[in-house]
Assembly symmetry: C2
Homo-oligomer: 360 residues x 2
């Protein structure tokens, strides 16, 4: 086990093999299991551990308890030349999201662009996973999802919206793609949970307590509400995302969304919304991508604010994380390690994660 | 003239008649003049005087000096079932934007949704004007534009992006539509200009000075840079908007955009991006709109934060403004009144705006 204070990293391919095996033993078809694990590991690689294999335990619990469908019948319910409505049949979010985005890209090849709304979805990991599928096709990808209610609308103290994250992925030529992947809350709720575990306070402006007062206490914050980024503007964006994801698809919205952890007796019935925009239906992808390179160069070359060492464009920090983590392995905490051990023992899988963890 | 401290309101129909006459005398065809004035007056009605008839003088100056084309040949340059690329031929923004959004809606009727990128555009007034065109068709409307460079990317102190505003318009049934229309800066730059005229300071967090330090001094702020809303997230959204508007259309981006006021010897060559999403290509518009009503009711009925009298959903304040201003007339400052007088004398128009202004 890890020395106190040091970090643990797990071998990438062994993590993939073990997690896929666990999902297969949970009843998920192998190809789907591999998709879900690819999505989770992508989260870990990009430095978003809260959306990585730390979620696997809850995924399997929800399948075991019958609240997520291991073998969903994902169906196109309605379509037109540029739109799709998909029923995810309560499958794992990454399985549904991958199929939906792939269909969206196929339609965009013919119609120039396409959008897809999804109902009966579940937690789908990092949004960038879906939006970035558009990049090899010289398309711009957009991925939105709603989420369980944790954020008060501007002016209110009662959680209504989820942290409803959004992602835009835009291809470049020599530079790496632009990938803007953000929650609509000031910070992800997971950061408040983590600060609580570490007995730290949080900065004012992240959250309010149950009575609506600003708080720096994590326990009060978690009983209260996270705040939207950018005040009323972020609150408005969260509302638009809830509408595109849930109201266009017939999924649940606002406080009606099932919670991922605390309320697992309820289906989540999340909504997703994806778009793929084919650049060549507007102008030459080569010109477009050269322009993106130029824009990135100009922004990164502009005068830095006091104390700033480097100006980063959206997605750049995550690509840097990925380059490091591909070599070093993915960071894994003692809790997640314990979960993986529990699961591999439950299913009799002959990979002991502790054998593939090193400290750093 | 107005008493010091009191406000002046101009009769709506007379303002429309006078402004249309001025544009026609500037060489703009009557139907186009009427569109532009409708857009500007809509800005005034919604309480956004900075995007109202206060812009007319600059519009006519740019036409007179040959930097905006009074009779543009607006052409579809590229199209597919769900996309359009339009060259605005340097016409007035509202003329181009109206045509582009109308074509986008027509395509969405057939393909379920459509998007349109526009190059060679100019200042187009309030974005809501275009996005809201989708509403009577039971569609969701989206309108984006880039703008002259006044905002530093996150981490930088040099203006690069414009305040690149975005608008989403979403129909409801009994409730008024959701209309989220925001700049990506903390506040519109016009508010800093206005504070300067009134010798007021601005709150910290709105802008930085030339050296990148936070400032509350309007003159230093205007020489420096406005800040994106929500920190790096708003900065990322401004970048995505610049890309959708300019990089997809071949318009200018970043610091290459021509300024509206200070640099009128240069064409603006702004880019716009519009989308229309037909609700019925997903599910029943009646169900969708009933859901929006429910969401609005739930949000407005949720517990209010301390000091909040009413929770407003996006667009609600502007609809309230419009209801008042339709009866009272549109607010007009002494500077705008003087500009209108100059223009009506230049063109020999027999409407003296001072005869149709009342104090309130």
């Amino acid at each position: 086990m890890a020395l106190s204070g040091s970090k643990m990293y797990m071998d990438l391919e062994k993590a993939r093999e073990l997690c896929t095996g666990i999902l297969v033993c949970s009843g998920v078809p192998e190809a789907d299991a591999s998709t879900v694990v690819d999505n989770l590991i992508q989260g870990d690689l990009r430095g978003l551990g809260s959306h990585g294999i730390s979620r696997l335990y809850a995924y399997t619990e929800r399948i075991k308890d019958g609240y997520t469908n291991a073998k969903p019948d994902i169906r196109v319910v309605n379509e037109s030349p540029a739109t799709l409505l998909i029923d995810g049949d309560n499958g794992l979010g990454a399985v549904i999201g991958t199929k939906a985005m792939d269909l969206c890209i196929e339609k965009a090849k013919i119609s120039g662009m396409a959008s897809c709304a999804v109902r009966n979805g579940n937690h789908y990991g990092i949004a960038a996973y879906y939006a970035m599928k558009a990049l090899p096709h010289d398309m711009i990808g957009i991925a939105l999802t709603n989420a369980a209610s944790t954020m008060a609308p501007w002016g209110s103290i009662t959680p209504y919206f989820g942290t409803n994250p959004f992602c835009f992925a835009i291809p470049a030529e020599k530079r790496r793609p632009i990938v803007l992947d953000c929650a609509t809350s000031v910070v992800a709720r997971g950061k408040i949970i983590l600060a609580g575990i570490e007995n730290k306070s949080i900065p004012e402006g992240w959250a309010i307590d149950k009575s609506g007062r600003p708080t720096t206490n994590t326990s009060d914050a978690l009983k209260g509400s996270v705040l939207p980024f950018g005040g009323y503007k972020g609150s408005g964006i969260a509302m638009v995302i809830d509408i595109l994801c849930a109201m266009l698809s017939g999924a649940t919205f606002g406080t009606h969304v099932g919670d991922f952890y605390n309320n697992s007796q309820k289906m989540q019935n999340l909504g997703f919304y994806f778009s793929a925009i084919s650049i060549k239906s507007f102008l030459s992808p080569a010109d477009f991508k050269a322009g993106i390179d130029q824009m990135i160069d100009e922004i990164k070359g502009s005068e830095k604010a006091y104390g700033v060492e480097e100006i980063f464009v959206p997605g750049e920090i995550e690509f840097n994380n990925e380059a490091v983590n591909r070599k070093r392995g993915i960071e894994i905490g003692p809790g997640v390690l314990k979960d993986l051990n529990t699961l591999r023992q439950r299913y009799g899988i002959n990979i002991n994660p502790e054998d593939y963890v090193k400290e750093g």
